[in-house]
Symmetry: C2
Subunit: 414 residues, 2 copies
């Protein structure tokens, strides 16, 4: 019997749960567990209404140092796979729980400690031997980007290229949620990300760039308008994203690897002010004897990302531009992307497109493991697993993709 346990009850977990519920022939049993049972129950209600499938819900408490409760829950249900969709601070302790309870593991964001915003796989990679010894598979970063972006790259490498030289992950959200300022996923995680130094890979080393949140003048060369299919030109800014770390390691022929993301001028103006006044700080500040973390307090004030879904319009376009030598060692340009429509996502899962694009792939990844398409023991990044069945499944799982070749590939200007 194929059982999956989804840990977390945020916007992404809702999509993953509903997408699993759409495929009862794959997932015989779905358990949704989080700190707050009521949030799980709301998602289970939506899944029942939208798919007819019953999801079991459980309350479980996990701290940064204690997974006793989670281990007990895993031992009670004995799922084949745990899909970890809680804040990335908990990745290591959740992975430890999977080792103890002998459960395969899938997540969507790299571990980072609360006290330091950083994007790297080192700590999770270091657990690979333990997963090997336990005969378990852990798949890291199986959302859209990281996740699908790496499968797209692996798909290109396998099917079109002898040697990849340039990789540009291009992430555009051209949606409109009607708020002057809101974040599409956890404001805390979002702000930690855009407040981190940007960097890209060039000729065997990392080139550091000021965070996107810095005054624009400090990084004049790191934005341009990329012409996204079905959307049009949108100003795109260089940021750093964790999958670049594993991609340049697994595809050592890459001379250049970048990650670009669109931001609106209003969004950036707000972020810069919040940075200036200290509201993006992740350390504790004394408030009448109580410790308050500015970015966590800001989260209490901003709209709940899930609440944006209902009136969200417009599209997302996320994909990879790859350049190199094709199977005949001729120069080749290739662009592969997915487009999602926020309103369509809402119709299907009562979620916005950012949650949708991040929430579908962990379901598809879990399916690959259950169906034996992805096998192995240890800790893997997505590009290390066979891209073909995964990319094929995305076509019908809700994230269909398009390929563009050579002269039709939009120009990348960095």
């Amino acid at each position: 019997m194929n059982k999956v346990l989804i840990l977390g009850a945020g916007g992404v977990a809702k999509v993953t749960a509903i997408k699993c519920a759409q495929q009862p022939e794959v997932f015989d049993e779905i358990i949704l567990a989080s700190r707050t049972l009521a949030k799980c129950d709301l998602i289970a209600d939506a899944a029942k209404r939208l798919t007819g499938t019953i999801i079991k819900t459980e309350a479980v408490s996990v701290s940064m140092t204690d997974n006793t409760d989670l281990v007990a829950l895993l031992e009670k249900h004995r799922p084949n796979i745990l899909i970890n969709l809680v804040d990335p601070y908990f990745d290591l302790i959740v992975m430890e729980a999977c080792l103890k309870a002998k459960v395969n593991y899938v997540d969507t964001a790299n571990f980072e400690p609360v006290e330091e915003a950083r994007m790297r796989y080192d700590e999770q990679w270091a657990m690979s031997d333990k997963f090997k010894e336990a005969g378990l598979l852990a798949v890291l970063g199986c959302g859209f980007d990281p996740g699908v972006s790496q499968a797209m790259t692996a798909y290109a490498a396998k099917n079109y290229f002898n040697e990849m030289h340039e990789l540009h992950i291009m992430d555009c959200n051209a949606g409109d949620h009607g708020h002057v300022f809101a974040t599409n996923f956890s404001p805390e995680i979002n702000i930690r990300e855009v407040g981190s130094p940007a960097r890209f890979w060039k000729d065997g080393q990392w080139v550091n760039v000021d965070p996107i949140i810095s005054p624009l003048e400090s990084r004049p060369d790191y934005h341009f308008a990329f012409n996204y299919p079905e959307i049009g030109p949108k100003e795109t800014y260089l940021i750093y994203h964790e999958e670049l770390q594993s991609l340049v390691k697994n595809f050592p022929t890459l001379k250049v690897a970048t990650f670009g993301m669109t931001f609106g001028p209003q969004y950036l103006a707000h972020l810069r002010v919040l940075q200036n006044v200290g509201m993006t700080r992740i350390d504790e500040v004394d408030y009448n004897g109580f410790k308050v973390v500015p970015v966590k307090f800001l989260e209490k004030l901003l709209p709940d990302p899930a609440s944006l879904a209902k009136n969200y319009t417009g599209k997302t376009n996320i994909g990879c531009v790859i350049k190199g030598l094709d199977k005949n060692n001729e120069p080749k340009s290739y662009y592969i992307y997915n487009i999602c429509d926020h309103a369509e996502c809402y119709k299907e899962t009562e979620s916005q497109g950012i949650s949708y694009t991040a929430g579908v792939p962990p379901m598809t990844g879990a399916k690959m493991i259950l169906q034996g398409e992805w096998q192995g023991t240890g800790v893997f990044n997505v590009e290390q697993l066979n891209p073909d069945p995964f990319m094929k499944a995305l076509m019908t799982d809700g994230l269909p993709w398009v390929e563009v070749f050579d002269k039709d590939v939009p120009e990348v200007k960095w």
Copy 2:
């Protein structure tokens, strides 16, 4: 023996204390009291160093509902006057303490309740009979504006006008403190002020205008560049200030009364973002079971206004443009203003110009009472007291003023 007790140990209290200490022939004894004795001691140290005068310091706790401790302190020291320079939430309870202990009262900002930002004298005016019965004088709003702005108006009425028709209080800070965003006095009080609806007096009624913190498009007509002497043209925005309430009452011939203040584009941009994200809210927000007031939390993050003083450069120019009929019933335009230089203020009092302009007048007002120039029982606004000796004293107390007549008066464009 002339004793003054200064309540509060913020930036304004520091100036008032040092200015009192400069005139030991007027103030035989100065007591500085606040919640935190260490803050009082720091000010007393500065006063000793800068003037040679010894200031006594005391710790005293006052809550919004309990003045027992303050009454005991007043009964211990028996000052002639209490100068109230704590947050305006405490005005009423401090006035009650003065009634109990038989002490005259001076403050610089109108009472407002914590839960509602508002500028009005109603609650304090309602205490006038109690002060009369006690044979005590309370002078409200004796800072610069309110305060000197009203004395200037009364001075004009007494010496130049038969009938005043227009009054425009023009407040410019052309200083530079070197921070991207900081407030010149308590961020909480500052933000409550600029977040409040603006209004002005026209033809016997109040005209309401959106707060300055609103999107600029919502109030296109309420800003213009006023040509401040020694500074030059500076964009000035219509806001509401409490002294307009008493001025239009005490000078009923006024057909128009406005208050304009300069703001830089960066300052306004920051305020608008903080408003958009909810950081200017004055209500309590739950943060992990603890109640946090956003604007008070913001205050913990922003630079301490007192810390701005050392490197503050540039000038302030605050004054009144008055139009009407002169003593011969001929049309007359009149402009009276004071200029302060931030660096000069720092040299004299180790304080910036905004604290200085607000902190000198309560000293001068207290001197007027001690010298018998201001007499009476009940609650008074500054324009109800003889402006001549007060204006004369300002000349040598650190706030000298300049008069400009008729065609030399810069144009007011609202």
